[in-house]
């Protein structure tokens, strides 16, 4: 297996008596599109929150490129190349779609009180570049026509696309997508995965939480399955399909859900 860009060791997080993530050890191979599956409440989103610093783990470690990043703040991790989207979109509602995207690049000269006054020309150059990049990214996720609309008033599926666009603005090396296709129409999902695979060929690693098994089997390698806070399977998509324990844990629980 390829070297890991991100790995965890015995990572745990409880909410009261509930062990949402229970001693999870896994490796995300560099350059992969890793699929993360599991029934509702398995702990997938919680794991994302632990990997991105949105939640602090009770125990265990997270390594990025072999460096210990356990407990680092989300903003520090974004700057180090981990981008994530949220399962329930979190647009900046009273800002335009374009401004949502333009926010993301780090280290903008104009992001301080004095920057816009002391470094005007540098800021203007940056703004021009960032704006163009944002328009390109929005074009890709088919949101360009909505650039000047309030982000709080676009559809739920469009909000998912905007989340992706914002993350792409930061050029992360590792992108964690929490159900990117939920609520997005199938044709657009195909376009999306096409672009994800294109970015992947250029070196970006993806971890995708997805309930659509067909999607996972076709596009993700390897596949990691969680149930009740634990990793119950790590392997190839083919192995996943042939694994009775996994089918039981996943399909069994979804059938009950």
């Amino acid at each position: 297996m390829a070297e890991a860009i991100l790995s965890t060791h015995a990572l745990s997080r409880s909410f009261g008596p509930l062990k949402a993530v229970d001693a999870v050890s896994l490796n995300i191979p560099r350059g992969s599109i890793t699929g993360l599956i599991g029934p509702n409440g398995a702990g997938k989103s919680t794991l994302f929150n632990l990997l991105t610093g949105a939640l602090k783990p009770d125990a265990g470690t997270v390594l990025l490129d072999g460096r210990d990043i356990t407990g680092d703040a989300p903003n520090a991790l974004f700057a180090q190349g981990i981008g994530r989207t949220f399962q329930i979109p979190r647009p900046f509602a009273r800002m335009s779609v374009l401004e949502n995207a333009m926010l993301a690049p780090t280290g903008q000269t104009g992001e301080t009180v004095v920057g816009p006054f002391l470094f005007r020309s540098r800021m203007r150059d940056q703004e021009r570049r960032i704006r163009q990049k944002a328009l390109d990214v929005l074009e890709f996720v088919t949101l360009a026509p909505l650039a000047d609309h309030p982000a709080g008033k676009i559809s739920g599926g469009q909000m998912k696309l905007l989340e992706l666009a914002r993350v792409l603005m930061g050029d992360p090396a590792l992108i964690l997508l929490d159900e990117p296709a939920a609520g997005v129409n199938p044709k657009l999902t195909e376009t999306l995965i096409g672009r994800i695979e294109e970015l992947n060929r250029q070196g970006t690693t993806f971890v995708i939480i997805e309930h659509d098994m067909d999607f996972v089997m076709r596009h993700c390698e390897p596949v990691i399955a969680m149930a009740q806070g634990s990793v119950v399977f790590q392997g190839t998509a083919d192995e996943a399909m042939a694994n009775p324990v996994l089918l039981d844990a996943y399909l069994g629980a979804t059938a009950n859900a």
Partner: protein
């Protein structure tokens, strides 16, 4: 005739000074979502700071230090900023309602401090010994007031232009993102705590400027000038004018101050003598009713926030609400 003009000058001066304060609050609340319930403390720090630094030496309280006036004014602003920085470090982790209560408490504490610490701020008798700058040259009359109005208008325009450029910059974008969803902003690499503190301090420095000019105008400040009433008035101006819109903030200041003075005049003129004792209370009820009405029927104010403030895309800006 000259009476009317000089009254208008007086009115415009006060309204413009208040407009500067409303602009400062707008940066905090309108742009960043920080609920400052203690506006008057930072206004007061500016006023007291300016007068103590710029006044003649007094036996009764600290200073004055007879500083060159612009330095005294800057010192007052710095004092307001310093206070905001300390308060901010302690309270900015609090969200919305808790921050409002904490800052309200700060304002009450400030009023009590200046009222009781006579050695510091002269107690109930206030700060004395301040001479208005250039008084020797311009005298005390209409000419002085006219010149002072010009200075105040200059400060208002400068503050307005500063803030307009700031909110249209990436920093403004950052403030709005943090106002909308702090965690999402953090997931995109921003550090909300530092940005909130910066906005709080910057807004408070502007409140301090307003207070400094106010103190200069009256050449006097006392605990009566830092009552919660003023916080309430400044908030009313922002809500009515349009939170998140600098033009709305200025417009609201003139409108509410106009309504306040007009209602005071009307009450003193037409209300029965027994009722005139309660003029202040009646004004409060009126302004309170205006706020409630606005929040019910036009919650975004008379001049609502504009949607696209930094960069816009290619699409025509048709009718778009926020």
């Amino acid at each position: 005739m000259i009476g009317v003009v000089s009254y208008l000058v007086f009115f415009a001066t006060t309204a413009s000074i208040l407009a500067i304060a409303v602009l400062g609050l707008n940066l905090q609340w309108g742009n960043t979502g920080l609920f400052n319930g203690g506006v008057v403390a930072f206004f007061g720090a500016g006023a007291y700071g300016t007068l103590i630094l710029g006044g003649m030496p007094q036996g009764a309280h600290l200073g004055g230090f007879a500083l060159f006036y612009p330095l005294a004014l800057l010192g007052g602003m710095a004092l307001a900023g310093l206070m905001a920085w300390i308060v901010g470090l302690l309270t900015l982790r609090l969200r919305h309602d808790y921050l409002a209560i904490a800052t309200f408490g700060v304002a009450v504490a400030f009023e009590n401090l200046v009222r009781n610490a006579e050695w510091l701020a002269g107690g109930a008798k206030g700060v004395r010994g301040f001479e208005r700058p250039l008084r020797a040259m311009l005298g005390d009359g209409f000419l002085y007031n006219l010149c002072f109005l010009a200075v105040v208008l200059l400060a208002l325009v400068a503050t307005y232009l500063f803030l307009e450029r700031l909110v249209a910059s990436p920093f403004g974008r950052l403030l709005r993102a943090i106002r909308e969803d702090e965690e999402a902003a953090q997931s995109l690499g921003k550090s909300p705590a530092g940005v909130r503190l910066t906005a709080f301090v910057t807004g408070s420095v502007i409140l301090g400027l307003s207070g400094g000019l106010y103190g200069t105008f009256y050449a006097f400040v006392s605990p009566q000038d830092v009552l919660p009433t003023l916080t309430f008035q400044i908030w009313a101006m922002l809500i009515v004018g349009g939170s998140g819109n600098n033009r709305g903030a200025v417009f609201g200041a003139f409108l509410i101050w106009g309504a306040w003075t007009a209602s005071g005049w009307a009450l003193s003129r037409f209300a029965p003598v027994e009722a005139q004792l309660y003029t202040g209370s009646v004004q409060f009820v009126l302004i309170g009713a205006v706020i409630v009405g606005m929040l019910l029927w036009r919650p975004r104010g008379l001049l609502p926030e504009r949607l696209v403030v930094s960069q816009r895309g290619k699409t025509p800006l048709a009718k778009q609400g926020v």
